[in-house]
Symmetry: C2
């Protein structure tokens, strides 16, 4: 526990992105958790479905946790909440209205809604007193409505945690980043800023969401065939803008993909989206309309294998298909690692005859994160005494740190932490890293949470590179004889002379061992492993995993 009057800040979660998914604030025996999101596995996490932050620190201090406070409704900020609640028990969860709507639906799916204590933040008026913490909120523009920054008043000083944001001066809902409030908070004095670094390496400012609407208004009216627009299912404003154009040109709108249908429903019910009556049609009704009479909103902008757009691209969707003359707008940017999947989908759609518009050839996407000049503006408004860049890979944090330095923040007051870095802020001193706690990640694979560990992943990688060879040898009981070993190869060789040669080598190794009176099963297995392994390497240059099984009967 930090000393009295000291506030401890620990970024957690994320794969290489610092504090992306969760940040723990701890002071005088009380903990406030900001966000509880998940990361998406990379190709090297073979077979892993989701990646959770390490909950160990919170598990050991569950009674100290006053609340979980969410900045916005994206999966990487709220997706781990059900797992957190399951692990540490019921908690107070605070979020703005849309975020809460999305989170409740998620908790419901996990059967956790009844046990949850969810409460709504009004960014203009809500003030939370949580132990020694006093929290206020500031509206921020982002690629999902209802995002907020959090101002934490602590005994150690005033901290601003931005969440994800950009400075969109013309957002679709008119709810701009509240620069007036930020300036006022800056006037009160900010001791530490924890700020979104995602686009710190990019010059200038991010374009307004409205730019995408302008592109839609230019592109869609001229099109003859079907128009498909694929985006993140949570990008409510993006969907609204596509729907607005559809209404103008008299196209019906069909929402395809489970998560997008769900989010459209939630957003409409809460008043975040407005669709005139008679515009929406169900996928089953698509057949009743000519291609030029419909606009299809669909998931799959990341090329996810089972998503609507991927199934459409591979001509494997039950209700939607794409023909010559159709237009597909991919209104998103591939998350690093998804590029090839997205390219594959584009190629398939192009082969089907569609023209595919995407970020590289049309202005159909803008980022939700602030570029360098916006970060400079925020620093000018808040004039923080210290800065801790978060939300980004190390190179982005380093770029954010350089911006802060250029803006006059002293080098010793800039903290470049990692996940698990324990940063302490105390009155009148720059924050500093005092220790590093264990902060791995937890893999969710199938139904199992946390039972796949590095050794299993290492095995999977090995298996995936060169396959596996199983050698089954049976040692006869009485006469001490041996049956010809049985070989099973998967993932590396075809049946043929090599397999015969391996079998002979295994038999030779066994005989040699038995002649030398080596009968200990572990030793026999080792000799088989080494002998056959060497043969395979000599013949093929490969190193499959070799699993010798010796059975004594």
């Amino acid at each position: 526990m930090p000393a009295n009057g000291v506030c401890r800040i620990i970024p957690l979660g994320g794969l290489g992105e610092v504090g992306k998914n969760m940040t723990v604030y701890e002071c005088e025996g009380s903990i406030v958790v900001v966000d509880a999101g998940l990361a998406f596995p990379r190709d090297e996490h073979l077979g892993v479905d989701l990646v959770l932050p390490d909950f160990a620190y919170l598990r050991e201090r569950r009674d100290a946790i006053k609340a979980v406070v969410l900045t916005h409704g994206h999966e990487d900020h709220v997706g781990a909440l059900p797992y957190l609640l399951r692990e540490v028990g019921p908690l107070e969860v605070w979020a703005t209205r849309l975020t809460l709507g999305l989170v409740k639906s998620k908790l419901d799916e996990h059967g956790l809604l009844r046990a949850s204590d969810t409460r709504e933040i009004d960014p203009e008026t809500t003030v939370l007193e949580l132990g020694p913490f006093r929290l206020e909120f500031v509206r921020m523009a982002h690629s999902i409505p209802d995002a907020v920054a959090i101002v934490l008043e602590t005994p150690a000083g005033r901290i601003v945690h931005t969440g994800d944001y950009k400075l969109d001066h013309t957002p679709i809902d008119g709810l701009k980043t509240d620069v007036g409030r930020l300036a006022e908070i800056g006037n009160r004095g900010v001791d530490l800023l924890l700020g979104d670094s995602t686009n710190a390496e990019r010059h200038g400012v991010t374009q307004s969401e409205r730019v995408v609407g302008e592109a839609f208004r230019q592109i869609i009216p001229q099109r003859q065939g079907r128009v498909l627009v694929s985006s993140f299912a949570s990008n409510v404003h993006r969907m609204q803008q596509a729907i607005d154009v559809a209404v103008t040109v008299g196209r019906k709108v069909c929402v395809v993909g489970r998560s997008m249908r769900k989010n459209v429903n939630i957003a409409r019910n809460l008043g975040y989206m407005s669709v005139p009556d008679g515009v929406l049609i169900r996928p089953a009704e698509l057949d009743e309309f000519r291609p030029e009479e419909v606009l299809i909103l669909c998931t799959g902008s990341q090329g996810e294998p089972l998503s609507a757009l991927t199934r459409i691209a591979y001509n494997d969707h039950p209700t939607v298909h794409v023909d010559r003359g159709d237009t597909v707008i991919i209104s998103a940017k591939p998350i690093p690692g998804n590029e090839l999947r997205v390219h594959d989908a584009i190629n398939r759609l192009a082969k089907a005859g569609a023209e595919v518009l995407h970020e590289d050839n049309a202005p159909v996407h803008v980022s939700g994160h602030a570029n360098a000049d916006e970060l400079r503006t925020i620093i000018s408004l808040l004039r923080p005494r210290a800065v801790m860049p978060i939300h980004g890979e190390f190179r982005m944090l380093a770029a954010h740190a350089r911006l802060a330095q250029d803006a006059g923040v002293p080098t010793e007051s800039i903290v470049l932490g990692e996940n698990g870095s324990v940063v302490e802020l105390e009155p009148g001193r720059p924050p500093r890293i005092v220790e590093q706690i264990e902060a791995g990640v937890t893999f969710v694979d199938g139904l199992g949470v946390g039972d796949v560990r590095d050794v299993a992943l290492r095995d999977r990688r090995r298996l995936s590179e060169d396959g596996v060879l199983i050698i089954v040898a049976t040692l006869g009981g009485g006469n001490g004889g041996i049956a010809p070993p049985e070989l099973i190869a998967r993932g590396f060789a075809e049946p043929g002379p090599l397999l015969d040669e391996m079998r002979s080598e295994a038999a030779r190794v066994l005989e040699e061992c038995l002649d030398g009176d080596v009968r200990e099963i572990k030793l026999l297995q080792e000799h088989l492993h080494d002998g056959v392994g060497q043969l395979i390497y000599d013949r093929t240059g490969r190193r499959p995993m070799i699993l010798p099984v010796v059975i004594e009967v």
Copy 2:
């Protein structure tokens, strides 16, 4: 064989990129092969090192092959040559001087140089008569010097094959794309254009290579620490420009990475690079100089696991390390699929304290391929009667086709082929696809060429996702009893209650079978597979590969 007077064109090789690696031209019993390159495996090709074009068509017609003609020295255009020569025997190989220098060194490494018949093309003067083909060459600017387009006069008409190019009007060596020659050939009349489509989706024109030099001249002189520049080892002009700045500011130059050292040697020996005496130092000498006295050129711009830059980033290089205050310039763009590896390297370098400049935050890279407006220019100069976009994914070919259409080429004269599409051109008719031949790719894995097939890759994928479980059951001879089955799990579960449960289930299944008098080994294995598989799926939601082994003694 095509009918008399008909020219057959078959794009081959590439993974999703049409005709990127090899194109076969066949007419009146004679074959000219343009390029013999390789593709790089994608993550889904687990454990595969290289991907070769399908040589089957050439293997069956080896006596018809008059020559292999290479457009330029990049791996994806020349890298498969040793494998082709090994498979179909010695061939005449034609290339320009630098390309030939690179190819000879490659053939030498494969022990094929003596058996090869390599001959030099002078783009200004060489005319080749190869059976019914008459070949001329045109200088093209690209990201490697000495690239050429090929003009093939055939009984079916005049064909222009561009190779990779851009319209750089201010290349470093002064050797621009020879637009005058192209215009003259256009005046003679072009029946078919096969053109590079890589950047067909990008608007405007690609910037000149000189732009990168200007960036180097702005960035490097201000830097205090080490400067590292990483680029493709074949980008001779890029390296020259970095060296020129180093010479100006008085830094020594150290070339690190085997392929880069090799290429610098070849390029210097052939006069394509000029480095004043006393500028180059060996890696072992780096210790004798202060950081601000050296510029290091290194491989690894794609984040390749064993490359110099990756080893430097992970502090695992024998002679080069990076400290606070150093600058790393990544003068390349990640090839799709390599993004995460490159990001990892950048993060590591940033953690070591270096400032990393790359395409996203500084103008330190330009593409080697023509953008849309350059493609339009080429079409205007050549005024082809027909166009067949090649060198690109389908979406890029489709974009190139739209540009050709906008330029007035009739739709029926635009051929969108795939690898293995047999396109026939005959006098006075638009080219058309007459059949599709088998044109898979050949995987090189370790020492084996072509022995890893789809089934092995499918197995590797399965293994990589959920691991493997081996069940070894021994059926006793006389009394018909069974020993407790032995289980080996790799890549999915930890030892524990689940393993015990699986063992019990296996025993139960076996007993049930034997009670029902099922003793056929194949059937027993199937029952074990299904029973234990279902249990695992119920408990974990996973589907490891299950390999039951039943042994009768």
